[in-house]
């Protein structure tokens, strides 16, 4: 895979990458438990 191909993909698919990034941010944000214990799990 060449650099030009990478750039092409970025150019074409950046909205999808942005969506994937946003989903990842949300996943990461809510993956953190309130505490090591059980807060919010009742």
């Amino acid at each position: 895979m060449t650099l030009s191909a990478l750039l092409y993909l970025l150019q074409i698919y950046w909205p999808f990458l942005a969506i994937a990034f946003a989903i990842g941010v949300a996943t990461g944000w809510y993956s953190l438990p309130e505490s090591a214990g059980s807060e919010g799990k009742h």
Binding site: M1, S4, A5, L6, Y8, L9, L10, I12, Y13, F16, L17, A18, A20, F21, A22, I23, G24, V25, A26, T27, G28, W29, Y30, S31, L32, P33, E34, S35, A36, G37, S38, E39, G40, H42
Partner: protein, 166 residues
Amino acid sequence: MDATPHIIESALFLLVAFLLGCVVGYLARRIAASRAPALVPAADPVAAAEQPARSSESAVSADSVSPTPKGKAPRAGRKASVPGSSQRARKTVATSSGPADDLKKIRGIGPRLEANLQERGITHYDQIAKLTKKATSELDAELNLRGRIEREQWVEQAKALMKAGK
């Protein structure tokens, strides 16, 4: 250039973007959680300096909570400095001095709940350890915890943490 040969690469890109997002989201949450409690103690010295004469009145609701331990100068600042917290919740606890304890060590208390407790002037284990049944139920209702304070035995945990800290 035809896009079809790059399906795998595209999928990898998406995966990388997702994982990157996960890391960023996780770190952002960690930072947000660690900053939230730090905001409350920062307001304390100012408020305490404004009301030095009232320090002897800081232990409120004698029927709910026993007074602050000897040797610890109580502070009136925290509970008066938070505009959003209710009067009732503020009356349920006595204030305490010194650097705030890490309430997250109590099982069931996380960053958000710790911040809520700090808004109500609860920053030390001894304040939780001294909660009476009445104060516990009031605080439980204020924070909409549905009985978790008793169920998770915060008072007992706080006492144990106090003991361990000595």
